[in-house]
Symmetry: none
Subunit: 210 residues, 4 copies
């Protein structure tokens, strides 16, 4: 979670770094990943210079925000897997609590530049891989439990998640249950019960990696 340069940051530098990442998350969500760097600096209560000392350019900042996000989600995924009684419950909890992931997804989709910044980052790649690994497990287990329909793979599930995690139209953000209802519909679609036959082949985690 520390920069790859290796040297541990001085206490104040560390604090600044964290503030900047936090501010960037907020601002990116509000204004998209092209938001003025000065806005981010201001939100972090820091001079632009400091922002640039820590993150040499916007691309780096986006990448670090994405890493931070993926790391948090991975932690949460593992917790869900460890703590929930059934795999299906883990899946549901994971989905419900992973609002963190939303930013990563938006970052990765919102602007072509952002996607480019993240695509070639090896560390983000590792997180993604690890995350999909966990998902493979949950999917397998949930299918063994008979809760999840057998004709889907981790790739299918991840894809569904990806869509669900998109920002809803602002109007609906206010209707508390809107997100939950779509999620419910989707989960019903995933449940093991007589449904339609899905076209094409099962998507695995591999299919989602670059």
């Amino acid at each position: 979670m520390k920069a790859e340069s290796g040297a541990p940051l001085r206490a104040d530098a560390r604090r600044n770094r964290d503030q900047i990442i936090a501010a960037a998350k907020t601002i990116f969500v509000e204004q998209g990943p092209d938001a003025p760097m000065e806005d981010i600096a201001r939100a972090a209560a820091v001079g632009v210079g400091t922002l640039y000392r820590r993150f040499p350019d916007r691309e780096t900042l986006i990448r670090e925000v994405a890493r931070d996000n993926f790391a948090r989600v991975l932690t949460e995924a593992r917790a869900a897997l460890a703590e929930e009684p059934t795999a299906w419950d883990a899946l549901v909890r994971f989905l419900r609590f992973s609002q963190e992931l939303r930013l990563s997804v938006q970052l990765a989709m919102l602007s072509p530049q952002a996607e480019a910044a993240i695509a070639c980052d090896p560390l983000t790649g590792e997180f993604r891989r690890a995350l999909l690994g966990e998902l493979e497990t949950v999917v397998k287990n949930a299918q063994a439990e008979g809760a999840l329909r057998p004709d889907v793979g981790a790739g299918d599930v991840a894809l569904v998640f990806t869509l669900l995690l998109r920002q809803l139209p602002n109007k609906l953000d206010n209707i508390e249950s809107a997100a939950e209802r779509v999620m419910g519909l989707m989960l019903d679609g995933l449940r093991a019960q007589p449904g339609s036959e899905l076209p094409g082949r099962v998507l695995t985690g591999e299919d989602l990696l670059p």
Copy 2:
């Protein structure tokens, strides 16, 4: 479909206008709604001056693109409703063929500015309203047919559509069936069959309008 100024455009002006809208759609999809105006003008094989004569500023351009899009989708929706044997089929066709809608959705979500440009446009509002009107009908009919689960409203369905119409991660664009599979899962979630109970209240078309 004509500009609100009233005067019908001369043939060549009309052609220019159409070229620009088409170019803008392409560029918006490729680069997002903040793409340089010059890029759009170039793609339309037109000088920036001409672009600005027709659309006084970016906001106007976005708005017109959105109107154009909604209009096409509305046409398609009505055709589906008129031509398909069952309401459920109309729903499916509508969803499957409405890639046009994708741009509107992306426009409305991709950047806060774009959303603002569209939100307060009365004409776009009318299209939206009309579209949701048609959707109410299909939903009602499909429920009467016993094909669609009874505990959802046009708002719920529209919301599902909205999510499905988002751009998939580029990687998956190549897997032909990916989009179809998610759609299948979603449709299974919508089908009338014993599913989980959805939280909150039924969402109507009204809930989606500003």
Copy 3:
């Protein structure tokens, strides 16, 4: 002398372009090649935007200024060669009138960046080559005339020129004759008369080309 893009510039654009090149020369001489672009724009009575439309970045501007300069010098060199009675006179005139060259030389030497901008420009390369070609001729002829010492080549002469064309200490700029005196001393060094033996080998024009 026109940009390689090919299309002949509109009259006003042409005028602006020329003004910018002229202004850049002045400013570069006064402040060095790192002078603020805005200063150059202001000196050319033009907005920064215009400057950048014509010359996408500083490097390009430096390169174009260098080209322009070399082209002028080449013209002057040919005139001297054609009009002066002896090759030695042509050499002297060329040297004396080539204050234009001074800027090119300074540009090429003053800052590493400037040198880099020019080094890899093929057109500047051609000018240099052509210039050295003319110089070979004058040198040969002046040696045949018995005026120039026989143990020097075009490279040696060019090198001497290069040094003489450097900016004198400001203090001395005021002493009208200072530059002339150094030039006189140098010409006496070049004259055919019993002098010391020079070390190393004769430098040709080739030796000066990258």
Copy 4:
């Protein structure tokens, strides 16, 4: 040679100071006198803070580098004068060995700012004066020896030196003898032998001082 503050520096401070001056020389030669202060600090293996403690701003640093340089050259000049058999030999040796001077000259010429920093420094002024004093002596003596042409003054000689000490085009740095050849030509121009008549008046050392 000590800073004007008076207090003799502690041993380690002294070492720092010397490292910084040495590093600054290197960096100035490589990147010009506008090189980032951090680069200089890094090259001196010292924090920026230390650099600034010793030299409150860039101007001061440049001035100190110039002083150091002039001091070294003066030492060398006196040694040449004392050790060489003839004044002409001293002149030649002085010229040949004074690569140190090159940096001062470049500093003084490379950027207008640097020149300004040096111009008004009394200590540098003294060094210059002393240097020109020595040069007057050598010139007089070399003329008395009949080796140096009688129609030049210390100012002329200094001017010639100044030009010769400029950085040659990089390409030629590789040709070992290039610098020597130009020097040879120049010395031939200075030699007492029938040459052309020089224009203007004899330049004295005074003419070079501000």
